[in-house]
Symmetry: C2
Subunit: 140 residues, 2 copies
DNA sequence: CAAATCCCGACTTTGTAAATAGGGTATTGA
DNA sequence: TCAATACCCTATTTACAAAGTCGGGATTTG
């Protein structure tokens, strides 16, 4: 069970924006460099995040991206859901149900995983990430 | 975030064996038909499950597969881990840690998801699935 | 106007899950 | 003993989505 790198990149990028919240726009290049992500690839992700309303963008010289809201108001779940599409572990959950008529025997399993993951990612905010991060000695 | 169909097929197949626990060996063909899985594909999964000790096999006429243990002693987690390899949502968790030196900012997120999913799947047994299943009216 | 920067669709590459194929081995029972 | 049944195992093919690249366009600033 893996998340795509989109989620990982996206969360890291948003974390970077959160670190600099209140300091004006941060350019794509900046974020990509800091988080070691391909700039062209990250661009696609940022566009999605913008369309979802999680970040705002400014064009032109000195332009870049900014969080639309304070870090404590942005859950990791909202980021992941935008980039991952859905957190459903199998297709049965969310929408059409499985082809096998009613419910499949495994539904109880996938549903519980689904609920649990959603619960976890909705409880963590960017602010939590910052606090966790500064608590340790990552300052190089 | 998706599980591979291996996990879904595997859980469903094991569920089928659980339903018939105590009735002797169930052939691959039988399981494949009941759960609508390609027989040749399911075979690969069953072999893995056998090597992991979760099922036993009997060759020859009347042969097939049987659970190695009672349904209440088989967790869904043990099945999924065999088939999925690992439940880690990103590569940072489990083993080598990420390339970015120490810890990545997102680690707190992925670690919590990992713990949570493992907790859920370890708590559900095949017996639970049977009970959940018979509780509903799937008898056609 | 030039430089910086975001915008966006189309395309290519790559990795791996999913599925198939086919020959081999053990067991049963007529 | 032989044929049928069923598991065993490796190799290969297919399918598809993620990951990454490309190139031209639009905006903003100075």
């Amino acid at each position: 069970m893996k998340f795509s790198t989109r989620s990982r990149y996206g969360v890291n990028a948003m974390f970077e924006l959160a670190l600099r919240y209140g300091e004006g726009a941060v350019s794509l290049k900046d974020v990509a460099d800091k988080q070691s992500i391909s700039e062209a690839y990250l661009e696609q992700l940022m566009i999605r995040l913008r369309k979802a309303g999680l970040v705002e963008s400014q064009r032109g010289v000195q332009g870049g991206y900014l969080l639309s809201d304070r870090p404590e108001n942005v859950s990791v779940g909202s980021i992941i859901r935008v980039l991952e599409g859905s957190v459903s572990p199998v297709d049965c959950i969310e929408g059409k149900g499985c082809q096998r008529g009613g419910t499949c025997p495994g539904r109880i399993v996938w549903q519980k995983i689904y609920d649990s993951v959603n619960d976890v990612i909705d409880r963590i905010t960017l602010q939590d990430m910052i606090e966790e991060y500064t608590k340790q000695e990552h300052h190089g």
